[in-house]
């Protein structure tokens, strides 16, 4: 393999870093988006709807290109013009990538969480309120875990997509993730089969391990259900 082993290891690490960071950001956008779509205020609902409609309609690569070549430049230019940053400032590409990917995943997470909240029986919230539970306890201990029970399989799918979509960023920046490492190695050695198979194996490994973890989480989230 001519010394590509360590590059692959670094590639896997970068792929995982991008996936994990973008996924966590996606969960945050998802909570915000679902809260907006379920809000009693019409303006927030409209904003939430716009978010999910637009983001889910456009190809992810297009959104990434917009984030890198339009938004990042515009925002840093604006910040520079009002003196917040120096004129040669540029965003860290890793940061732009994970925020953009997270923003995209957030639209899907929004829909998943919204459906999970709507599936809660109203009595659960009534009982939690009647017991006097505070907002964090209500959502953290009573309603949240029940939303997760509904949402976990779909959130698992978003995670698996996140690991694969992370490879899109090698198109917009100088990222040596698994896919980029393998294509560089393949191009240099002409050993396409070996290196693309290796890349496939890396993604397969990530997904098999993910599924095992997701499955364990899923079983835990279903405690108390259908035992009788």
């Amino acid at each position: 393999m001519g010394g590509y082993g360590s590059q692959f290891a670094a590639g896997i690490l970068l792929t995982l870093e991008i996936s994990v960071c973008s996924y966590l950001i996606g969960l945050i956008f998802g909570v915000l988006g679902a809260s907006a779509k379920l809000s009693p205020w019409k303006a927030l609902r409209l904003l939430g709807n716009l978010y999910t409609i637009i983001v889910r309609a456009l190809p992810e690569l297009l959104l990434l290109l917009i984030a890198f070549y339009v938004l990042a430049g515009a925002i840093s230019g604006l910040a520079a013009s009002i003196g917040l940053v120096k004129s040669d400032f540029a965003f860290n590409p890793f940061l732009v990538a994970v925020i953009a990917l997270g923003f995209i995943q957030g639209a899907y997470v929004t829909e998943i969480l919204r459906a999970g909240v709507l599936a809660l029986p109203k009595g659960q919230s009534d009982a939690a309120l009647a017991l006097g539970l505070s907002f964090p306890v209500r959502w953290g201990r009573v309603l949240g875990p029940q939303v997760m029970r509904h949402a976990l399989p779909a959130l698992g799918n978003v995670w698996l997509n996140a690991t694969k979509d992370s490879s899109l960023i090698s198109i917009v920046g100088a990222f040596a993730d698994v896919l980029k490492v393998s294509s560089l190695a393949a191009a240099a050695t002409k050993d396409y089969i070996l290196f693309y198979a290796l890349a496939a194996l890396c993604f397969l490994l990530i997904s098999v391990v993910s599924m095992a973890i997701l499955n364990a989480l899923h079983i835990r989230s279903r405690r108390g259900l259908h035992i009788a």
């Binding site: 009647a130 006097g132 009573v142 989230s221």
Partner: protein, 248 residues
């Protein structure tokens, strides 16, 4: 100084859209009083008791619970909900928590009780509703009657001064109604202030100091159970009682 009445409702009105659910409801419940509320479905009886702990908003009128005015202010709601326990038709136990966890959650998080203390308290109340041996099980492993008794224990763990029951036996199989009613009769014997929406007339006769009959969002008639059932004054109550008797 005498303790303030447990519940005062004064000219309370509620509507959902154009649907006027409560019309000028006024009610005084004394400390330790046991009130049964009956009436046809859609008469506003559930809405009325859900107003008392702020699960339902009211548009005009005044509600005072244990001397605390119920307003939209979060602090008043918080204080009132500490004092008022509620039991629902569909039990509403938290399905992902065990019986014991259901019981200790509120005492620990609302009152800041230590786990050991909360668990000891929970076991005491689970003993009072006669299912301490189920503490480690999940709600789905219990029968409906057992679940409702857990729900009563869960509410009692907050050591409320007032208990609200919203049709607690309506979702139960007939053979399980008795065990829940027995638990409530025993609770009534302990001097707890109780407001109970139910069609169990036997229970009303046995424990109620007063029965309230609601129809169309207003209190139509009220009185001691024996006189109310024996000599209903209004035609609406006569019709309602005839229907109840026919179905029993």
């Amino acid at each position: 100084m005498a303790a303030p009445p447990a519940v005062i409702m004064d000219g309370v009105n509620t509507s959902f859209g154009t649907n006027h659910v409560l019309r000028n409801v006024s009610l005084n419940v004394g400390q330790g009083e046991r009130v049964v509320i009956c009436g046809p479905s859609g008469s506003g009886k559930s809405t009325m008791i859900r107003c008392i702990n702020g699960l339902e908003r009211y548009q005009c009128g005044r509600i005072t619970v244990d001397g605390i005015a119920l307003t939209r202010d979060a602090a008043s709601l918080k204080r009132i909900r500490r004092d008022v326990g509620m039991v629902f038709q569909s039990f509403n136990l938290f399905p992902h928590l065990t019986v014991l966890q259901n019981c200790v959650l509120a005492p620990m998080s609302v009152k800041g009780m230590k786990r050991a203390e909360a668990e000891a308290l929970a076991m005491e109340f689970l003993g009072r509703v006669k299912i301490p041996e189920q503490a480690g099980k999940y709600p789905s492993q219990l029968s409906g009657g057992q679940q409702q008794r857990v729900a009563i224990a869960r509410a009692l763990c907050m050591q409320p001064r007032i208990m609200l029951f919203d049709e607690p036996t309506s979702a139960l199989d007939p053979e399980m109604v008795r065990e829940v009613l027995d638990t409530m009769v025993e609770l009534a014997g302990s001097g707890m202030t109780m407001l109970c929406v139910t069609h169990e007339m036997g229970f009303a006769r046995q424990v109620a100091d007063r029965v309230i009959f609601m129809d169309g969002g207003e209190i139509v008639e009220e009185g001691a159970p024996d006189s109310l059932f024996a000599a209903p004054k209004t035609e609406r109550l006569q019709r309602f009682l005839a229907q109840i008797l026919r179905s029993h």
